[in-house]
């Protein structure tokens, strides 16, 4: 009899649940694909925009950093120092070049082990490797080690010349070469060279005897030389390295260069890097620093370089920012900061809200090369060319109506792009199309079932536990259940404690299904949890009302509003873990919550009219 009495309410709630869920399911299916694409695009755009904002904010910090350096007294003091020739810098440069060229020649011989010396002589690639410029007037050459005759020369008239000629130019060095040549495979030293004007100039020479020979048993040696006078730096200043280390905000860089107006790098924080050279020398024309130095000279403003790899063996890219330094309208020189990209990589690699396959990466606008690591590090930076429609749209600033584009792997992805103006980069954000469409369908079905079950459960609970039979206005309750009696006897203090406990328990039950309570979406959950506590107090307090009609309305209304808030907490957690979901999922709960609001209002009205 009791079941029969409640059956109609149970059926009513189940039918209502099916009806509401069905209506929204219909709407969702009708515009499912379009809706999913739109919401996913919106989410992807938001992520991309947020990352771009973070990168731009970091770039602005760097601008402030270089601005501080430009205006600092230390920079101006160092740029005003007289410039002197530094023998040691010429030595370091020539030594380094000798080792690099020797390695290159050795490797080339290894590639062609069956080639004769004559064949190597005729090979233009080999000639290019052996004869390289060093500094302004230095160069490298390769000689037949046994014959001591140079067969690869920058100046043709020296071809086939014996290096005994050095004797007339520098007897000291010649003696060193003659004595050591069969003892050591690595000889170096300074010597004087009389120029065409009859003036003696200091030179430095480095000879390396190569280990491997050609197939016809010819042994080779690489010789590198340079004019010491080409390398200039500022006059020795006591502890120049400390100059920029006093201010901690100006210390977060890989290197710092000071360049005088004619292009000579007169100071380097790291003494092993390009110090003493001139950026206008032809040999330096392809340096990243040279390119932005020329640009800064031309535009007279702060310029950012593209990302670049500093030298062989380096795997982490850097970028440079250069700015002119003035003192009372007089150009003193330029200050250049070399920065690493670690912080930018942290931003681009952040996979939050990007699902399983989504990733963000940077592409250089000029070279179209990948300049930041991919999410799963599948391809190398500065190796992988990103010649995709998404990258091209970014370069041409085109708004592509088709959001589904092929990525660098040939997969169909939902793609978005953001141009970063300084430096000229593109931030591409892409997520696999299959992931969006498949998972969306699955979660849609799961949530629809969950909504139906929850609604039905609450309906059945209310129908059986609470006497929902509508009573006439002002009619006192005839049958008071034990549960109702127990609740109505609770004091306000106990009601508040009970409400808080129930809300907290709910929070700890729900969050482990997502990211755990420690990583819950607190920012979104707190307002809902707060409202739930208040509504629970209202619900329990409703049992105390003597007027049955208003009691029922308040109980119904508050339980519907509580239901809405509880659903919202689940959806917030889902959003936080898996990314935004369609607004359709919010609608059933919200609608029920609004109906509850009306019921609360009418209950309130009835109660207050008494």
């Amino acid at each position: 009899m009791k079941i029969r009495k409640h059956l109609k309410y149970i059926i009513f709630f189940c039918l209502t649940a099916i009806l509401i869920d069905g209506i929204f399911l219909c709407f969702r299916y009708c515009s499912q694909k379009k809706q999913i694409i739109q919401s996913s695009s919106q989410r992807l755009n938001d992520i991309s925009q947020s990352k771009t904002d973070q990168i731009n904010s970091y770039i602005n910090e760097i601008k402030n950093e270089i601005s501080d350096l430009v205006n600092s007294n230390e920079t101006k003091f160092l740029l005003k120092q007289p410039v002197v020739i530094d023998k040691n810098i010429a030595k370091v440069e020539v030594d380094q070049k000798a080792k690099i060229i020797a390695k290159e020649v050795e490797n080339y011989i290894k590639i062609y082990p069956k080639r004769t010396f004559q064949e190597f002589k005729d090979d233009p690639v080999f000639q290019k490797i052996t004869v390289q410029d060093i500094g302004l007037s230095g160069y490298s050459t390769v000689e037949n080690y046994e014959e001591q005759i140079s067969y690869f020369q920058k100046t043709k008239k020296f071809l086939g010349e014996k290096y005994q000629n050095i004797e007339s130019l520098s007897p000291e060095l010649y003696q060193k070469l003659a004595n050591d040549i069969f003892i050591s495979s690595d000889i170096s030293g300074f010597y004087k060279l009389t120029g065409p004007d009859g003036k003696a100039q200091d030179k430095y020479l480095h000879l390396i005897h190569l280990k491997n020979k050609t197939v016809d048993n010819v042994s080779l040696a690489v010789i590198t030389t340079a004019l010491v006078g080409d390398y200039k730096v500022i006059k020795e200043v006591s502890n120049p390295a400390n100059f920029f280390q006093n201010n901690s905000s100006q210390n977060d860089f890989n290197n710092l260069f000071l360049i005088n107006p004619d292009g000579t790098i007169i100071y380097s924080q790291d003494p092993n890097k390009e110090i003493g050279i001139n950026l206008n020398w032809p040999v330096n024309k392809n340096l990243t620093l040279t390119k932005i130095f020329i640009q800064s000279q031309k535009d007279n403003k702060t310029i950012f370089s593209d990302a670049f790899i500093d030298s062989y063996g380096e795997i982490y890219p850097e970028f440079i920012v250069i700015s002119p330094v003035y003192d009372q309208n007089k150009l003193l020189g330029y200050v250049a900061l070399v920065k690493d990209m670690n912080l930018i990589f942290e931003i681009t690699k952040d996979p939050k809200n990007l699902g399983q396959t989504g990733e963000s990466y940077l592409v250089d606008q000029m070279s179209k090369l990948l300049i930041s690591p991919l999410r799963h590090n599948l391809f190398d930076m500065f190796v992988q060319n990103i010649d995709t429609d998404n990258a091209n749209d970014c370069l041409t600033n085109k708004i592509n109506s088709n959001n589904f584009l092929l990525n660098y792997r040939g997969d169909i992805t939902l793609a978005t792009r953001q141009a970063i103006l300084e430096p000229s980069w593109c931030l591409l954000t892409e997520i696999n199309a299959n992931e969006i469409l498949n998972i969306s369908l699955q979660k849609e079905v799961i949530i629809s079932i969950a909504i139906f079950l929850l609604f039905s459960f609450i309906g059945i609970l209310m129908a059986t536990k609470i006497n929902i039979k509508l009573v006439k206005k002002n009619e006192p309750a005839r049958q008071v259940s034990k549960f109702k009696k127990m609740i109505s006897q609770l004091s306000l203090k106990n009601i508040i404690i009970l409400s808080i406990i129930l809300t907290v328990i709910y929070f700890f039950i729900i969050t482990p299904f997502f990211q755990g309570w420690q990583n819950a979406a607190f920012y979104n959950d707190i307002p809902d949890l707060f409202a739930t506590v208040i509504l629970l107090i209202l619900f329990f307090h409703g049992f105390k009302f003597k007027n049955i009609s208003s009691q029922k309305l308040i109980l119904f209304g508050s339980s519907m509003a509580i239901f809405d808030k509880l659903i919202q907490i689940i959806l917030e957690e889902y959003n936080y873990k898996f990314g935004l979901i369609s607004t359709y999922f919010w609608l059933p709960g919200t609608t029920i919550g609004f109906i509850g609001l009306f019921l609360i209002f009418y209950g309130f009205k009835k109660e207050k009219k008494l």
Binding site: F27, D528, A531, K608
Partner: protein
């Protein structure tokens, strides 16, 4: 073009807001007790603000944190009025 789901959400919020505002206003005039129904009146205005934010696509988490938090405050206001009720 606004997604259909968002449009539906805006329509539902507006219907609720207008309905509540209408019902509350009538009660206010009938009972001549404006203070009593003030939390519902403000709640309906609050709903209009929510609808406007949805309509213009403002989904800034900080703004919504404030909007959602005030729901609890309006309910608390209603609860305080009911707690003063002597008919319990």
């Amino acid at each position: 073009m606004m997604p259909l789901a968002n449009l539906l959400a805006v329509i539902i919020i507006i219907i609720t807001a207008v309905g509540l505002l209408w019902a509350v206003s009538i009660e206010m005039l009938k009972s001549k007790n404006i203070r009593l129904f003030m939390p519902f009146f403000i709640l309906s205005i609050w709903l209009c603000i929510s609808a406007a934010l949805n309509f213009y696509g403002v989904y800034d988490p900080q703004i919504w944190f404030v909007v959602e938090s005030f729901w609890g405050i309006w309910f608390l206001w209603i609860l305080i009025i009911l707690l003063k009720n002597k008919n319990v």
